[in-house]
C-alpha cells in the first residue's frame, strides 16, 4: 500500500516531510486536509493534537514531521541519500548529529516560525503584525545566527561534512525568508557577520527548490 501523507501543501511541517520523501524517492500519496479540518474525529483518532501532518505507512500511523522524517530514513535505507550518520560511525558522531537536530528545533525553528507567524499568518487571518515583537525576535535570531556561524565556519554542515536531516529540516522555513521579509541572508551588513551560514542557507534553499 502506498504511503499516505495527511497534510497541506502550504504547511511547512507537511513540506518538511515531502522534502524527505522526495530526497529518499519514496512513493507517497498526499491526502489534503483542509485548513480548519484537523480536529475532525476521523483525524483526531490518529493525531490527538489536531495537527498535521501524519502518515499512514501500511497501517503504521506516525505524526510530528521530524519523527516521520527519522522513521522514513530508518525504514527505507536503500532509497536515496542516507541523510543520517550510519550506525557504524559510533556514539560520538551520533551525538553530534542529535546536537545538530536539537539546534534546529530550539535555536532556529521557534524564533523563525514566530517571525513568520507575525508576518504571514496574522495578515492571513485579518490581524496586524506586532512590529515590536518582530524586532525582538529578529534580535534573537541574529544572536542565534552568530552561533550558527561559529559552527558552520568549522564544518560544511551542522553535524559535520555530510548533509543530514539536521540541515534539511531548516529548508521549509528558510524558503520563506523572502516572503517573510527576514533579511538575514539578503542584507549585506548581516551576511558579513555570518558568511558561512549564508552559504549554507542558500545551498539548502536551492536543494529544496530542486526537490519540489
Amino acid at each position: 500500500m502506498t504511503l499516505k501523507l495527511y497534510g497541506r501543501l502550504q504547511s511547512t511541517n507537511t513540506q518538511r516531510v515531502i522534502l524527505i520523501l522526495k530526497e529518499k524517492k519514496i512513493p507517497y500519496e498526499l491526502v489534503e486536509v483542509e485548513f480548519g479540518q484537523n480536529n475532525q474525529p476521523e483525524r483526531l483518532q490518529f493525531q490527538p493534537f489536531a495537527e498535521i501532518p501524519y502518515i499512514d505507512d501500511d497501517g503504521f500511523i506516525l505524526y510530528e514531521s521530524r519523527a516521520i522524517a527519522r522513521y522514513l530514513v530508518a525504514a527505507y535505507p536503500e532509497h536515496g541519500p542516507t541523510l543520517v550518520p550510519p550506525p557504524s560511525v559510533g556514539v560520538k558522531a551520533q551525538a553530534l548529529f542529535e546536537q545538530a537536530l536539537s539546534v534546529e528545533a530550539f535555536n532556529f525553528y521557534p524564533t523563525v516560525s514566530s517571525i513568520l507567524m507575525e508576518r504571514l499568518l496574522k495578515p492571513f487571518i485579518g490581524q496586524t503584525p506586532d512590529e515590536a515583537e518582530i524586532a525582538t525576535l529578529t534580535e534573537k535570531l541574529d544572536t542565534r545566527l552568530a552561533g550558527y556561524e561559529r559552527v558552520l565556519s568549522k564544518s560544511k554542515y551542522l553535524a559535520g561534512d555530510e548533509v543530514t536531516l539536521a540541515d534539511l529540516f531548516h529548508i521549509p522555513l528558510l524558503t520563506l525568508f523572502g516572503l517573510g521579509q527576514i533579511d538575514a541572508f539578503t542584507n549585506d551588513e548581516k551576511v558579513k557577520k555570518w558568511p558561512s551560514v549564508a552559504r549554507w542557507a542558500n545551498e539548502l534553499v536551492q536543494r529544496g527548490s530542486v526537490q519540489s
Binding site: L44, P48, F49, A50, E51, F60, L62, Y63, E64, S65, R66, A67, R70, Y71, A74, A75, V91, K92, Q94, A95, L96, E98, Q99, L101, S102, V103, A105, F106, N107, P110, T143, R144, G147, Y148, R150, V151
Partner: protein, 219 residues
C-alpha cells in the same frame, strides 16, 4: 577522566541532563557556570558552546551541548541499569514512536510551558516586569495541547508506549515549575495526565537533582 557537566544548578536544561546521568548511574562532576556574571557568553565558553547557553558536557575531551542530545548520548553510550528497559527503544517502530513522543515534548509542551514559567518564575526571580497576557495565552494553549496528552495517556502508560522513555523525563524541568508559575494544569487537566505527572515526579533520579544539579561520584 570523569564526565564533567557544565551548567547552572537550578537551570531546567542542566537538571534535565543531571536526571538522566543519575538514571543511568553515570558518575559525573558538576561545574557551576556563573551565568549571573555572563560567564556563558565569554569567548572561552563560546569555544565549547557556540550559542552561549547552558549546559554542555566534557566527556574525557568530547564536548557536547543541547540537553536532550546529551541525554540521548548517555543512553546510547551506557547500558541501562540492571532490571530497567533502555530509555530509548531500538526497534524501528518503537524508536519511531519514541521520536514522535520526543517531538511532542518540544512542539506541544515546551513552547507553551516555557513562556508561562519565564514570565511568572524566571522574570520574578530577576525582578523584571512580567507579561500577564503572554502567561495567559501560553497557559490557554498548553491547556488545549494537554487534551492530546490526556487522550494518549488514556491508552498507554507513557508517551511512547508502556515503558518510560526520555520523552517523558524531558518534561520534568518545566512541568514541575508550572505550579510555581501559578498553574495547576498538570494535576487538574485530567486523570491520565495527573497519573503520569505524579509518577514522573516520584522518579528517584529527578528527586536527586530537582533542587539543584550536583556532582555524583558513586551510586
Amino acid at each position: 577522566m570523569v564526565l564533567k557537566l557544565y551548567g547552572m544548578p537550578v537551570s531546567t536544561c542542566t537538571r534535565r541532563v543531571a536526571t538522566v546521568l543519575v538514571e543511568y548511574k553515570v558518575p559525573f562532576e558538576f561545574v557551576s557556570i556563573d551565568v549571573a556574571k555572563g560567564e556563558h557568553k565569554s569567548a572561552a565558553y563560546l569555544q565549547n558552546q557556540p550559542f552561549g547557553q547552558v549546559p554542555y558536557i566534557d566527556d574525557d575531551g568530547f564536548i557536547l551541548f543541547e540537553s536532550r542530545a546529551i541525554c540521548r548520548y548517555i543512553v546510547d553510550k551506557y547500558p541501562a541499569p540492571a532490571g530497567t528497559t533502555p530509555l530509548v527503544p531500538s526497534d524501528i517502530k518503537g524508536k519511531a514512536l519514541f521520536e514522535q513522543a520526543a517531538s511532542i515534548e518540544y512542539s506541544d509542551f515546551e513552547p507553551y510551558a516555557y513562556p508561562a514559567v519565564r514570565e511568572k518564575v524566571f522574570k520574578a526571580m530577576r525582578n523584571l516586569p512580567t507579561d500577564q497576557a503572554v502567561y495567559d495565552s501560553s497557559i490557554e494553549t498548553l491547556d488545549a495541547k494537554l487534551a492530546g496528552y490526556e487522550a494518549i495517556l488514556g491508552k498507554q502508560k507513557y508517551l511512547a508506549g508502556n515503558e518510560i522513555t526520555l520523552a517523558d523525563l524531558f518534561h520534568l524541568p518545566y512541568a514541575t515549575l508550572l505550579a510555581k508559575a501559578g498553574s495547576d494544569l498538570m494535576t487538574t487537566k485530567g486523570p491520565n495526565v495527573t497519573r503520569w505527572y505524579n509518577e514522573l515526579c516520584e522518579r528517584p533520579s529527578w528527586n536527586a537533582v530537582k533542587d539543584g544539579a550536583k556532582s555524583f561520584s558513586s551510586y
